[in-house]
Structure formats: C-alpha cells, structure tokens
C-alpha cells in the first residue's frame, strides 16, 4: 500500500500517467469516428507513415525537440493520408490495398532513414528509435502541455462539428445531398485523426498506435447504442488504460509503458466483446440457447 502511495506521489509517474491518460482520452474520442467510418486501418497507415517524418525532421534541422519531430511526423502522416485517399479516388485500387502500399513504403523509408541517421558521426541522433515502440518515460512536462493543448483543440472541433460528423459518419452521400461540403467533411475528421495519432507517437510508438485508436472505440460500441455514449465510454476506456498501464509499468521493473497500455486497452476490448449485454458473445450464445429451448418446449425443432 505504501509502495502504491509512493508511486502515485512520484512526479515522473504523475507526468507519464497524465500524458498516457490524455492520449487514451483523445484517441478514444477520435477512434470512435474512425471505427464508425470504417477507416480503422487508416490510423495504422498514418502512424507508420509518421516515422520517416520524425527522422527527416531531425536530419533537416538537427534538433531533437519533440515539437519539431512531431511536426515532421504530422507532415508525412498527412501526406500518406493524401496519397491513400488519392489512390482510392483516382484508380480502381481499393482502400485496403492502397493503405498497405502506402504504409509499407513510408515505414520502409522511415527505417532506411533511421538506419542512415544512426551511422552519422553525430551522437545526437540517439533516441530517435523510441518512436518505433514508444517510450512513455521520456515524456516531459512540456510534452504534456503540448498534448493538452492539441487535445483541447481536437475535442473542441468534435463538439463544434458534432452534428456534421455524426451525419457524415452515418450517411456521407445524404450529407452531400443536403449541401454539406463533402470535401471539408472528408478532410476534417481525417485530419483530426492524424493529429490524434501524432500526439500518441512518443508514448506508444508508430507500430502500436492504431490499437489506441481502435480498441477503446470497439470496446465502447459494445456497451452503448448512442453515439455520444460511445464516444464518452471510448474516452474513459482509453484514459483508464493509460493510467493502469503506467501504474503497472512503474510497479514492475522491465515492463515498457506503451506496450503495457496497449495490452490493457486490448484486454478491455476483448472483455467487452465477450460479456457486453446484447452485443456480447456470451449473451448471444445464451439467447440462442434460450430461443431453442423455447421452440422445443412449444413442440418445434428437433424431436
């Protein structure tokens, strides 16, 4: 108990936990829209595509500030989104193929640049590879402030455009027939999702970031039948996983924070798929049994 108290009052823990909670909250909210728009995998593409941006930002500026690196990540992340959407719109290649193509090319380029930068005689490049799997313990107070500000702006957009996002996620063609600009409504949510991913890179890394986007949303969908409830629950699940993951990795030596957070959020999702009322697997099995018993008791079914 004393040990737990000691962890909670520890300044580093507080910083990392706050950062992870923020990340979980933001990715939960925007992930809900990604999942409902059937663009779950877009997050995976964007996060992988962020790697060359990080390394290029460093190679070009020689500065290792998180802000500069994430700006690079944002640019290549957006570029990748742009390519994926462009390929889908202007060719007969489907979304999944376009995504796989762009994602592997960008990630490959990122790895090439990373290896190149590590061969440079300058020692300053050490630590860039933390963006692959993330390293929450490197979160500083100023990183938290950055996350907080970006998160606030993102959530503000979601609140302002709530009605439009809802309509556009459900029926984009009808939205267009009402005169809402499909261009704006296609780009804005994608842009916000990209931003949410970039915010999380330092904590969970490019490889695992898409789980933070998808898992809270999938879990929340199981428990809710209203969009606002789904979004709130996804935010709570995300934030909770952030805190629990940080707590676990601070309590046991050798547990990396980012991956532990991802494991937590995946467990929540798995549990939700299993036990949620109505949509859960167990409830469905129970219902089927009950229906069969009823049919048999009424003289139907197998004799």
């Amino acid at each position: 108990m004393e040990k737990l108290f000691a962890i909670f009052t520890d300044y580093t823990f507080q910083t990392v936990a706050l950062g992870s909670a923020l990340l979980g909250l933001i990715s939960g909210v925007l992930g809900s829209f990604a999942v409902l728009r059937r663009q779950s995998l877009l997050g995976d593409g964007v996060s992988h595509a962020a790697l060359p941006g990080v390394v290029m930002a460093f190679l070009l500026t020689g500065i290792k500030n998180t802000e500069i690196l994430l700006l690079g990540a944002l640019l290549t992340g957006l570029l990748a989104t742009f390519f994926i959407m462009g390929i889908v719109r202007h060719s007969r290649i489907k979304f999944d193929s376009a995504l796989a193509l762009v994602m592997s090319v960008f990630f490959g380029l990122g790895l090439v640049l990373l290896t190149y930068s590590q061969k440079l005689p300058n020692a300053n490049q050490a630590g860039l590879n933390r963006f692959i799997y993330g390293q929450a313990s490197t979160l500083l107070q100023r990183d938290i402030v950055l996350m907080g500000v970006c998160g606030f702006v993102l959530l503000l957009f979601v609140v302002l455009f709530w009605k439009e996002f809802k309509l556009f996620s459900f029926d984009p063609e009808f939205a267009a027939s009402l005169g809402f600009s499909t261009g704006k409504l296609n780009v804005l949510p994608s842009f916000l999702i990209v931003l949410a991913i970039i915010i999380g890179l330092q904590t969970v890394g490019v490889v695992l970031m898409s789980a933070m986007l998808i898992a809270p949303a999938v879990a929340a969908r199981q428990w809710s039948h209203r969009l606002w409830l789904m979004v709130c629950l996804a935010a709570i699940f995300g934030a909770l996983s952030g805190v629990i993951g940080t707590l676990l990795s601070s309590s046991y030596a050798g547990l990396p924070t980012g991956p532990v957070i991802v494991v937590c959020v995946t467990l929540i999702a798995a549990l939700s798929l299993l036990v949620a009322p109505r949509r859960g697997i167990l409830h469905r099995i129970y219902l089927r049994r009950k229906t069969r018993a009823y049919i048999e008791s009424e003289g139907g079914g197998v004799s």
Partner: protein
C-alpha cells in the same frame, strides 16, 4: 417570363465509368407536380441519373437544370431517399435521430436540432407508421422499416422535389400502398416526386409520368401515352411484354 413548367431538365448528359458509358446523351424534362417513375433494366443508369441530378456525381458532359442556379436555398428544396443498403445500420443511433438528420441542411453548420425538429420528426414518423419506433436503436429494424425511416427523413426536409431510389424495396404490399398514398399526397400539394421503380405491374397505378431509360432515354411522357409494349420492348430488349405481364 412565364412560370417554368418543369421541375428539372437535363441536357446532353453523358456519364461514364472508365470509358464505359452508363448514360448516353440524355435529354429530358421532368414536369412539375407529377409522380414520376424512372424505369429500366438493371444497370440501365437509373440510380446514376438521379445521383447526377442531385449533384452527387459529375457527368462527363451535359448539364442539369432546375431553372435557377444551385444555391443553398434551392438545395433545401431538394430531398433524397437513397437505397437503404447504402449505409451501415449498425450505427449507434436511434430512429428519431436519423429522421432529424433530414433537417440538418436547414439548420446549417454548428446549430443543433432542438424541440421543433424533434416534434417534426415524430410527425413524419407517424406519417410512415413508425411512431412507435422513435426511440428504437436502428440496428433492430427490418429492411422495410429502414426504407420507411429514410422516407420520413426525406419528408422532414419539406422540399419541392423528391428523388427516391427504390423506396419500396423490401416493403410489404400493405405498407407499399400506404406509402404510395403518401406520395400522392405530396403530389396534391404540388410537389414533384421522382422515383426509381422496378415493378412494371404497378407503374400505371402509382405514377402519372414515366421515363424509360436504358443507357439512352427510350421514352419520357405521361404514363397513358408512353407506357406501352412497344416502348417497353425497346427498353428491355424484347423482354418488355413478358415483364409487364398479361395485359
């Protein structure tokens, strides 16, 4: 200038997907205040035609003319019932919410639907016989119920022209009759209703104007004048007689 007598016109309209033409040199005029059926075989370009009219697809050539420029004001006068299969019905929302979406164009950016929209949505649900389902989760609806929700969502737009893509698909016969009565009411109020329709048997009962298309416009006129075997045979490539049944 005399009052325009058409609801919508298209001139020299051609649409193609990858060099393959779907609509070819379409010229037609749809009169105001009529119940109009767009009829043709599968792949004839019916859905494409109404999507182009709605501005959802860009034609390769040609133009759509509502008699005035496409402004926000005109947009509000155009309602759309897409095929119900075009959306994910597992979306987490209620029947009432979906119907209220029909008012979003009137509300414009940022404004949220309020009491007035809710009341209107309930009225429209009553018209399509779905008021008991208002707070229902949409994933629990049958195909016919989904169609009726989409119809209610178009009715709430209180438009002048309605474009409907197979609104009777999956609807039982009794409900279909009540929905047709609803469309006839709209016509009585001077609205124009353009319906992509599949059932040749009911064209004469339901509609007063018909557009037969199959890549080209095969016929466009009052049902009594143009909905005959010769035109149907041309549209369906000789199978029209069979399709129309014993008459």
């Amino acid at each position: 200038m005399k009052e325009k007598d058409f609801a919508v016109r298209v001139h020299d309209l051609s649409v193609a997907y990858d060099m393959k033409p779907v609509l070819w040199d379409i010229d037609l005029s749809i009169p105001r205040g009529k119940l109009v059926a767009i009829v043709g075989p599968n792949g004839a370009g019916k859905t494409t035609l109404i999507k182009v009219m709605l501005g959802l697809m860009k034609p390769v050539s040609g133009a759509v003319d509502f008699g005035e420029p496409m402004t926000k004001k005109l947009r509000k006068q155009i309602a759309y019932v897409p095929q119900s299969g075009s959306v994910d019905w597992d979306f987490p929302t209620t029947v009432l919410d979906v119907v209220m979406m029909g008012r979003y164009g009137h509300l414009g950016w940022f404004t949220r639907p309020g009491k007035a929209e809710k009341k209107l949505a309930l009225d429209m649900l009553e018209k399509v016989g779905m008021q008991a389902f208002a707070s229902r989760q949409i994933s629990q609806l049958s195909g016919g119920q989904q169609q009726r929700i989409f119809l209610a969502r178009a009715l709430i737009q209180q438009a002048d022209i309605y474009f409907m893509d197979e609104p009777f698909k999956g609807v039982d016969a009794q409900t279909e009759r009540s929905l047709v009565a609803l469309l006839k009411d709209l016509k009585e109020q001077g609205k124009t209703v353009v319906v992509v329709h599949h059932d040749l048997q009911t064209v004469e009962d339901y509609f007063d104007w018909v557009t037969l298309i199959n890549l080209h416009v095969m016929a466009n006129g009052p049902v009594k004048e143009v909905f005959h075997e010769e035109n149907l045979a041309r549209t369906y490539g000789g199978r029209g007689l069979l399709l129309k049944g014993a008459q």
